[in-house]
């Protein structure tokens, strides 16, 4: 019952529903990429700079090296979505751990954690990501970790605030009076109650991570073995005055995906925090 009510509330938000449908299509395209485009998308297959629609075999045209734009876009969806999801997972893991410890224990742990959060927040995010990628090297793993490291602070703050509100509730005191340990109380009692707003934030971090990755790739610091959307935009930038579609097509894909993720985030917010939904 609970679950169906949740889905109903989520679906009532039309934007969120549309966003979910589009993201599912993108995810489906990403998953089925090897079926429809079994060959390496970075292979040259036709004459360069074919405009979209010029040749029915390449509906989105080809880039400056004669590579199929559609194949690269579909394979790129895979890289882009994976980076977004994993970076958000890293950020959520760090953010929830730090925020939960800070909010639950308070005192010097809280002070130290919050000063660390502020330290991270004072560094401009993009520059921080670029610095980490340059130091660690441009591999997919390092980019995911770098984005996670700059994106965890809002999650930590949110988790801390939730824990501060919940830690002195009577059901937590009841658990303490039964002799439940701190770890059990944090993970099994408080966390399930603190998660809804954190999930909303995590879904927004996915969108932010995709933008970060695009920026990194656009600047040429992305993983050279992976055709993410950001890299496609970056590859096309020299031809932006003649063949602008090479930049525009992956650019629109990024925009639509990020927009849809934000819509989903809003929808989750409405569905998980029903008291705020009719404002």
């Amino acid at each position: 019952m609970e679950r169906f009510a949740f889905l109903g509330r989520f679906a009532r938000n039309r934007g969120a529903l549309a966003g979910t449908v589009i993201i599912l299509l993108v995810a489906f395209a990403a998953l089925s990429a090897p079926v429809f485009f079994p060959t390496d998308p970075l292979r040259m297959v036709a004459q360069p700079e074919l405009w979209p629609g010029e040749d029915p075999a390449f509906p989105l045209g080809t880039d400056s090296l004669g590579r199929d734009m559609l194949a690269m876009l579909v394979h790129g969806a895979r890289a882009t979505l994976l980076i977004g999801l994993f970076a958000s997972a890293v950020a959520t893991l760090i953010g929830v751990s730090v925020g939960a410890a800070a909010g639950y224990f308070g005192g010097w742990i809280d002070e130290t954690a919050m000063r660390a959060v502020e330290l991270f927040q004072t560094i401009p995010n993009l520059i921080f990501v670029l610095t980490i990628v340059v130091i660690l090297g441009s591999t997919l793993h390092n980019i995911v970790i770098a984005i996670g490291i700059v994106s965890w602070t809002p999650i930590a703050r949110m988790t801390r605030a939730e824990f501060l509100a919940l830690r002195d509730r009577e059901f937590v005191q009841a658990c303490r009076s039964m002799g439940m340990g701190d770890f059990g109380i944090i993970v099994r009692e408080i966390l399930p109650n603190a998660l809804p707003p954190v999930i909303v934030l995590s879904s927004l971090v996915v969108a932010g991570a995709i933008l970060f990755e695009s920026a990194v790739s656009f600047l040429g610091l992305g993983d050279p073995n992976i055709a993410s959307w950001g890299r496609l935009v970056g590859d096309g930038r020299e031809l932006i005055r003649s063949s602008w579609y090479i930049c525009a097509i992956p650019g629109v894909a990024i925009m639509v995906t990020v927009l849809c993720l934000n819509l989903i985030g809003d929808g989750l917010n409405d569905a998980l925090n029903p008291k705020l939904r009719d404002r």
């Binding site: 609970e2 509730r169 009577e170 059901f171 005191q173 009841a174 658990c175 303490r176 009076s177 039964m178 002799g179 439940m180 009692e189 399930p192 109650n193």
Partner: protein
């Protein structure tokens, strides 16, 4: 009568930004097995803090809290966990005391699981417990928000009973309930006491409830006990001026009786526990205070065979 719970000069002090708050300031009392001790006093007098100190939910600054002879005031780790099973708590707010994301079955089973019971034994015990407090066994799969306040308080009672505790600290267990449901919960508590011989420390500001359930009553004011004695003695012959004022402030159902009684109405507010008055804590509001009360703090003295009061002029 051997004492189940003995408090010896218990202090609970909190360091706050505004200064040191003496929430509990030297409380000593005894609670026998199978006895119900009512703890009354106005809001902010420290009665809930004292209950939480006995549960070790707030740190005890100094003093002894003996449960069956063992001092638990500074126990840590597994020794504390073992003692916790003997003392359980029923909370004031039936909406806050159950995890909204746990099923009722999980909440009630929690103390058993923590005590290391086997899953089959836990399931059986949960059914028994829900039966005792008058809830259907299918309540197990449901969530707290599906229950009324009175039912939730029953769930809290079932959880408190799970490990056969010797003492249950009841922190205003019926204050948040409708009057119509209060009697049911009070009667349930009395039935359970008769059946299992459990003791209650019954914290309340509702004098009519305490009069009904308590064997003995302790009156608390500003972190200290000003009078303690058997219920009948306290109600019929209150000695301390604060007890008199407190009882006089309680409404009486019979308007004819109510009109005839003389009332002493207390002036002023409860002093801040940040700066408790020197001497007797009650002297700033006491109708019979004299110069001595401002300098010398009275101790509890016997005022009869079953009562003690802390006042210089008794």
């Amino acid at each position: 009568m051997t004492a189940l719970l003995t408090l010896n000069n218990v202090h609970v002090h909190f360091n706050t930004a505004a200064g040191l708050v003496r929430a509990v300031n030297g409380v000593s009392l005894d609670l026998g097995a199978g006895e119900t001790l009512g703890l009354v006093g106005e809001s902010g007098c420290g009665k809930s803090t004292l209950g939480k100190a006995i549960m070790r939910l707030v740190p005890v600054s100094t003093g002894e809290i003996r449960v069956e002879g063992t001092d638990i005031a500074q126990l840590q780790g597994s020794a504390l966990t073992a003692m916790r099973r003997k003392v359980q708590m029923i909370f004031q707010d039936p909406y806050g005391s159950l995890n909204p994301r746990s099923t009722v079955g999980r909440s009630v089973a929690q103390p058993l699981v923590l005590a290391g019971w086997k899953p089959e034994a836990v399931a059986e015990r949960v059914d028994t417990l829900l039966g005792w407090v008058g809830l259907p066994t299918d309540a197990k799969q449901r969530y707290p928000h599906e229950f009324s306040g009175g039912q939730r308080q029953r769930i809290g009672i079932a959880r408190a009973l799970a490990l056969n505790p010797r003492l249950i600290v009841c922190d205003e267990p019926v204050s948040a309930l409708d009057v119509s449901v209060r009697a049911q919960v009070i009667n349930l508590l009395e039935d359970l006491k008769a059946e299992f011989g459990v003791s209650y420390l019954f914290i309340s500001h509702d004098l009519s409830v305490v009069e009904h359930i308590a064997d003995r009553v302790a009156v608390m004011y500003l972190g200290t006990i000003v009078e303690i004695g058997s219920r009948d003695r306290i109600w019929r012959q209150p000695q301390h001026p604060y007890t008199k004022a407190l009882l006089a402030a309680a409404p009486i159902a019979d308007p004819k009786l109510a009109r005839t009684r003389t009332r002493t109405v207390l002036q002023g507010e409860l002093p801040s526990p940040l700066e408790p008055p020197a001497g007797c804590p009650f002297h700033s509001r006491c109708p019979i205070a004299q110069a001595r009360c401002k300098t010398e703090r009275p101790v509890l003295r016997a005022t009869g065979d079953s009562a003690q009061a802390a006042c210089h002029f008794i």
